[in-house]
Subunit: 320 residues, 2 copies
């Protein structure tokens, strides 16, 4: 986790901007502006909705990245939003990761993969890339990915191995931010602990051989901002585990809620906001449906930058 921690320290900002474009978060005129270009390029009209969004989402992402890359150190594209467009969207996911990296950002791919060992080894290509020597390439351009622990150790170890080889990181789901996450994650075990606590202990184990110079392993944990007290307890229970904290902002988590997930040095966690940053233009007085695509993207950029600075300042108040 050393590369991530260094990047966050350099920015003095533990924020993560979630790059999760949807039709509701990308101004309509931006999507519309690609209608003609796309209509001329596709072979079949049924490809238009996906192709048009694919180019619009990339343009939107590039605008956000350019607006926030000197404010935050980390972005987290959520691959689901891209898969919603089909394979054309997956291309844009990878292009977004590549562009974010080219702008000096640490790219945390929120892909939540998990499977049996031999299959997890294939998914670990996200970290390892493909080919050897001069022919090696890294088609996903991710610095870290999220993984799902439900299959146990042999579904996680291939990711840990790949992370070590490629100097990258993974984040395993422990306590997610969504309302019904308690259904499974808070089930009480016969020893009195909760399921997510057992998963937390496994996560500490999975990372034990990969502890870096800052005291954190390559195996992080996802702990939702919507569970401040559990997060505080987990911080103590998992001393070598760096946290990715989603759920700040639109999902209800505040700076005060996440403060307990940091260590005494103000490190140990990064906090994600998606809609609160990339959708900030929707609350801007400068935005109107009369704007053209370029003007709308200017409002997107200004609003995202301001929201990212506000989030940074909020977190600095509570964390540092």
């Amino acid at each position: 986790m050393d590369r991530l921690i260094a990047a966050v320290e350099a920015a003095q900002n533990p924020s993560v901007v979630g790059l999760d474009p949807t039709d509701a978060l990308v101004p309509q005129q931006v999507i519309d502006s690609f209608a003609q270009e796309v209509a001329e390029e596709v072979e079949d009209p049924s490809e238009i909705p996906a192709a048009q969004r694919a180019v619009a989402y990339f343009e939107f992402n590039r605008t956000i990245i350019d607006a926030i890359s000197d404010v935050v150190a980390v972005v987290k594209p959520q691959i689901a939003m891209y898969e919603a467009l089909g394979p054309a969207g997956v291309d844009v996911y990878a292009m977004t990761c590549e562009y974010a990296r080219s702008q000096g950002l640490y790219v945390l791919g929120d892909i939540k993969r998990g499977d049996i060992g031999s299959t997890a080894a294939a998914y670990a290509g996200h970290l390892r890339g493909i080919g050897e020597g001069e022919a090696h390439t890294d088609p996903w351009h991710e610095d870290a990915i999220t993984v799902n622990p439900y299959l146990g150790s042999d579904g996680i170890e291939p990711f840990v191995e790949a992370a070590k080889e490629a100097d990258k990181d993974i984040f395993a789901l422990v306590r997610t931010s969504n309302p019904s996450s308690a259904q499974i994650q808070e089930l009480e075990l016969t020893d009195g602990s909760k399921l997510y606590e057992r998963v937390a202990d496994l996560v500490e184990e999975w990372g034990a051989d990969t502890i870096g110079s800052h005291g954190y392993s390559r195996v992080g944990a996802v702990v939702g901002a919507t569970h401040p007290e559990q997060g505080r307890q987990l911080r103590k229970r998992m001393p070598h585990t760096f946290f990715l904290v989603p759920g700040y902002g639109a999902q209800g988590g505040s700076g005060a809620d996440v403060a307990g997930m940091f260590d005494k040095n103000g490190s140990g966690a990064i906090v994600n906001s998606s809609r609160g940053i990339i959708g900030a233009w929707r609350k801007s007085e400068s935005y109107s449906t009369e704007l053209d695509a370029g003007q709308a993207l200017e409002v997107v950029a200004q609003s995202a930058r301001q929201a990212a600075m506000n989030m940074r300042d909020d977190l600095r108040t509570f964390v540092y």
Copy 2:
């Protein structure tokens, strides 16, 4: 689950062929045969390893599909094997699904997705497609997908909704086939049940509104062949839940092991084999490294077809 059940009944075969190509399962001369074509097409030599495998894997898959489409009713491409190649592989995943469907097969996309509600809604595009009316398209070409239950109900409901709308199905992980799956799935809860049993009960609930004419809901369960006794118990515990049973063949499960996962009518489950079918050529006396790519694919086809018929006959012995 009615479409799936009808297809399986028509074939009198509950087998699923896993389309999980890897370098070990695709004859080297098939991969090599695309070297020149790919080298001429890519912009950057570093793209060659992925691009070459992408075309080779598709050719391999098409060979398998043509060889088995009158023997089995269902194929299950594992998206991890394609993601290992980067976005170029994801294109081939979707092309494989499309081709399999065009040959009349039911396509179960093994993607094991799962996330919070708003994100799961985006992943549900795998089932729902994109666009409305004439502009609607289904870029993934899947009839069903696998999903991960760790996030609880609100991470599953968007998939159930999409399945209902699109007349498709989902399969949630309950008891996976891998060795360390017990670490989490068999944790004992304070009420004396195991975690996977609680997940099983949730799966029954999630499907309750979607029970079709054969008595099974649109929400199936993944139950590994490597747990025959637990599978037998789950069959009773989950009367409206259709099972996808991985782990037959290469992972050690036999026809006898899976028999208890079927209902008294010989329905209620499908059984997957991947390596045992698509890698059967490796045990064929007709194969040698001296064969050219076309000859090697002929051996692949013959071996896969024979292995699929053997599996069908094995399952018929124990199930019907």
